[in-house]
Amino acid sequence: MSVAEFSGDGKDIVVSTRIRLARNLKNYPFATKLSAKQAREMIAAIYEALQKNPALKSVLSFIKLSDLDDLTIQSFVEQHLISPEFAKSTAERSLVLSNDRHISIMINEEDHIRLQVMGTGLCLNKCLDEAVKLDLLLDETLMLAFNEELGYLTHCPTNLGTGLRASVMLHLPMLTRCNEITKMIADAGKIGIAVRGIYGEGSVARSELYQISNQFTLGFSEQETVERLKGITDQIISQEQILRKAALAQARDEFEDRVYRSAATLQNARIMSASEAENLLSDLRLGISCGLINGIDYDSLNSMLYDIGPANIAVKNGSTLPPKERDKYRAEYLRNSLRSKLKE
C-alpha cells in the first residue's frame, strides 16, 4: 500500500476533507471499562496488525502519547491530528501517524480505534478508499466488534453502523457576510448533514470556515454517506461562487480594498494574535480565489493556518513563550512567509 496523493479539486473553497472510521475490538471492553493492562495489550495487537503491511509500516510512526510533552500534544490538536479529548485523557493512549500526516490513528480514544485520513481540497472518495484499505488490514488480523443489524459496534450509539464520519471544511466568506449561513445550516440539518461554525465576538465566524459532515451512520452505506455529503457540498460551493461574483461586480472597490488591506497587514504587522491572523488569512484566501492576489497557493495557506496556532508557534520558538512574545513570533512568521511572495 502506498500513501496516495490526498488532494482534490475546489481548493478555492474546500480547505480540507476528512474521513474517520470508528472501530472496536470484540474481545476488549470499551474505553471506560478498559484496564491499563488491557489497553497495553490492545495497543500491541493493533500495532501488529498495521505492521503486517511492510510498505505501510515504513511510512508510519508509532507514538506513545505519554512519551510526548504537553506542548507537542497541543500542537497535534491544532493540526487536527488528534482530538482535544484524546490529548487530555490520562489513559494508555497511542497515536499512529503517517510521515506525510495524512493518516492518523488514535488508539484508545472514545473507541479503541479512530482511524482518519485527511486530504486537501475535495477528495472524499480518495480518502475513503485509503481508510477502507487500512480497515481491511485491521480486519485481517483483529476481531472487530460487529453486529449484522447494528453494524460496527461503538462506545456511543451515535456512531453505530459504518462508524463513518465524513467531513469537509469549507471557506464561506460571502455566505457568511451576506447572512445566508443560518438558512443553509437549517436546510442541511433537514437532510442529515451537520454544519458547524465557530464564532468569535459578535456574529462573524472565525476564519469564516465551516465543517460540513454527516450526522447519521446507521442505515447508509459508506458510499451513500459520501455521495450525499458531496451533493450538498457542491450546492454550497456554487452558492458561495455566485455571491463572490456578485460582490466583485457590484462592489469591486470595497472588495479589493479589504483584500489588499489584509494582505498589507499580514506582510507588515509586528504583533499578531491567532484570531486576527485567521481573519486576515481568510481575506487573503478570498483574494487569491478572485484573482486579486497571486504568488501563493492554497496548500501553503492551509499550512499557515496550522502554523499560527499558539502551541505550534511555541513548539518552534521556545516552549515557555508568554502570549505577547508568541504574537511577535507569529507576526514575524507571517511576514517571512508572505512578504517576498505576494503579488497583485
Partner: protein
Amino acid sequence: MLCENCKKNQATTYLKTVISGEAREMRLCDECAKNFGGFNFFSSGFGLDGILSGLLGQYNTSQKKPAGINSCPVCGSTLEDFSESGRVGCANCYDVFYENLMPYIRRIHGSAVHSGRIPKRIESSPKRRIQALESELAQAVAAQEYERAAQIRDELKALKEGDQK
C-alpha cells in the same frame, strides 16, 4: 464575571457556537476557551450524546428492566450507567440490553439496520453465503437459466448440510 465552564477563573472570552442551527453562547476563561475554541473535528455526537442520555434517562423511570438481568455479564455495566453517560460498556452490552437500546437507536438514526461494509469473517460466513446464493438462485430462475439454477441449488444444499453438522 466567572468562566461558565470551570466557574473558577475570570471569563475573558466570549464564544458563540452554532451546531446544526442551534446557537450556544459561553463566556469562558483563557484556559477553557483553549479547549472549546477552534474546530473540534472529533466530537462525535453533534450534541446527540446529551439527547441520547436524556432518552435513556426516560427509560429508567418509564419502562421495565430486562427480566433477571441487572448488569452486562462481560463488563458489568448497568442501564443506569448508560443513562448517565450515553455510552455502553462493551460490545456485548448491545446484545444484553438489545430490547432497551433499540428504540433509542432508532430515534437517533431514523433507521436501525446497518447498510455498508462488513468484516470478512462475517462476509464469508455460511449464513451470508447462503443468503447470497438464494438471491442468485431466484435471479437465475427468473431469467430461465435452469442449468445455472441447478448448480446453485446443489451448492446451497451442500452448504446447508455443512451448516447443520
